[in-house]
């Protein structure tokens, strides 16, 4: 029954900077099923973004291996939503959303059609010919979401996509992501600082330790889908949030002390 799509075994990453070796990540063992929404939470600098970059192929592990079982070798494998830099200031909204299709060599007419469709679904219709500089932060992240979905990738990677947004906008965008993802399921790895965000969105929450990041706990989120904001008011939500915070609290404090010494 289980259909493992991403399987990491002993994945590690070290960085060498000015003769110092920094052990950023691992060893991490992680298995993600096809169509699963996995959130990764952990303190700053715990290597969760690095893990995402390894999945994306932007960085290679320095030890261990990570295997991705793609269903269709012809289809695009990954797309990624970044906290910023994701969408390009020199492209219009339409051109930004269309980019994955342009890169894949889809004909312009067809690409425009699909891109407009996703612009519509992401709630940015009417801004097709605007440049990102004229949009609000929330609108920009909607564009980034549309672009991530447009190529129909097998894995969707999200690196703190809502971290730069204000608290209310965040709630709105979380709802939007839930709505879109529940209609178009695919495998998601979602990195966040927010425990609350992880519990609201994900099927599973992976809790990571401070550097070098290892997996402290792997929690299955029990709330039914389609999920709404009301999941937050369940008693279990509070209990899980508390559990994860207890795990992270020690890690964060430890790091603070490490800073004091350094």
């Amino acid at each position: 029954m289980s259909d493992i799509m991403i399987k990491g075994t002993g994945v590690e990453r070290t960085f060498v900077a000015r003769g110092h070796t920094v052990h950023a990540l691992g060893p991490v063992d992680l298995a993600v099923e096809r169509g699963e929404f996995v959130a990764i939470v952990g303190p700053s600098g715990c290597g969760k973004s690095t893990l995402l970059r390894i999945v994306a192929g932007l960085a290679a592990p320095t030890a261990g291996e990570l295997v991705i079982d793609r269903a269709d070798p012809q289809a695009p494998l990954c797309s990624m939503v970044f906290q910023d830099y994701g969408i390009f200031p020199w492209k219009t909204v339409l051109a930004n959303v269309r980019l994955p299709l342009d890169i894949a060599g889809v004909s312009r007419g067809r690409a425009n059609e699909v891109a407009r469709d996703w612009i519509d679904r992401a709630g940015v219709a009417g801004f097709e010919s605007a440049y990102p500089a004229t949009l609000s932060g929330g609108m920009r992240q909607r564009v980034a979401l549309a672009r991530a979905f447009v190529a129909n990738p097998e894995v969707l990677l999200m690196d703190e996509p809502f971290a730069a947004l204000d608290a209310q906008l965040r709630l709105v965008l979380q709802q939007e992501l839930l709505r879109v993802w529940e209609a178009h399921r695919r495998t998601v790895l979602f990195v966040t600082h927010s425990i609350d965000e992880a519990l609201l969105l994900a099927d599973r929450v992976v809790v990571m330790s401070s550097r070098p990041g290892r997996i402290l706990d792997d929690i299955t989120v029990p709330f039914a889908r389609p999920r709404t904001r009301s999941a937050r008011s369940a008693a279990e939500f509070g209990a899980l949030e508390d559990h994860i915070w207890r795990l992270l609290k020690g890690e964060v404090e430890e790091r603070e002390h490490a800073h004091d010494v350094a």
Binding site: R53, A56, M80, Y85, W90, L99, A104, A133, A151
Partner: protein, 285 residues
């Protein structure tokens, strides 16, 4: 309430709308009108003062002929073809030299920015050559390319090239890694990365170099025409000062200035259009 009493009190500081707040559109219009008027008033006033000073003998007209005299000399030199020929000649050399220098500079600069191997091989040599005074190379160009306009064109091209190449290299290197990553995850090939990310992201910085060197190109071409060759605006200006024709000389100087303004303006305008997010939008959408 005792607000009336308080309004009369002298120690009260009142915050009230001024003309800019009461009628913002009228205020903005007025301000624009004043800006334009003053911008024209300064040069016009200078010319009028110059004219009067020349006519009443305050200025030595052997060195500072009246603006009206300069105007007549300018018109005369345009009619007899001396000025027109010089302008055409200078602009031709300017466009060819600047074009070659800028295009070659951007091409090599982008290549250097992309390839650390090319950078390792060429960067230090280019920096060393950049610091060399290009004018000092002019005798070499004369030897290689002979007399005529070729060595002058080469000098302009070289002066532009080194600045553009180094600026373009830096521009490409400093493209945010985040932008490259965003395209790389989508599976962009090298050429696609170049087209969709590197070039547009580096363009604003490259455009600055292209704008600056437009001005430098004019300085170089007019300057070198004064000391070498027998054609062009620089030659005309210098030669007329030698034969004591200050009217035409000043006309040449003014026209050189106008060419500079027009050329750099044109290049700036073109650069604005080259950068999509800064492109003036002609059509509402």
């Amino acid at each position: 309430m005792t607000s009336h009493d308080q309004l009369d009190r002298r120690d009260l500081v009142r915050r009230v709308p001024g003309p800019a707040e009461r009628a913002p559109q009228r205020y903005a219009r007025r301000r624009r009108a004043v800006t334009v008027t003053l911008a024209w008033a300064t040069p016009v006033l200078l010319i009028v003062v110059w004219e009067l000073a020349a006519r009443f003998g305050t200025l030595d007209t052997r060195f500072f002929p009246a603006p009206s005299v300069i105007w007549q000399a300018g018109v005369q030199s345009i009619q007899d073809g001396a000025m027109t020929g010089a302008v055409v000649d200078t602009v031709r050399k300017l466009l060819i030299g600047y074009g070659i220098g800028a295009v070659a500079g951007v091409a090599l600069g982008v290549l250097l920015g992309l390839s650390w191997i090319a950078r390792a091989a060429l960067e230090h040599t280019l920096v060393a050559l950049y610091t060399l005074p290009k004018l000092a190379l002019f005798p070499v160009f004369l030897l290689i390319f002979g007399l005529g306009s070729m060595p002058q064109i080469v000098l302009v091209a070289v002066s532009v090239f080194f600045i553009v190449v180094l600026a373009s290299t830096t521009a490409v290197i400093s493209v945010e890694q985040g932008y490259r990553d965003a395209a790389a995850v989508l599976g962009a090939k090298r050429t696609q990365l170049l087209r969709h990310v590197i070039i547009p992201a580096a363009l604003p910085a490259i455009a600055t170099a292209i704008r600056l060197t437009a001005g430098i190109a004019i300085l170089v071409i007019v300057g070198i025409e004064m000391v070498s060759g027998d054609s062009g605006l620089g030659y005309l200006i210098f030669q007329r000062s030698q034969v004591f024709d200050p009217g035409t000389m000043y006309a040449g100087v003014i026209i050189a200035g106008l060419i500079g303004v027009a050329f750099t303006g044109l290049v700036s305008f073109a650069m604005k259009f080259a950068i999509p997010q800064q492109r003036p939008r002609l059509r509402r959408s």
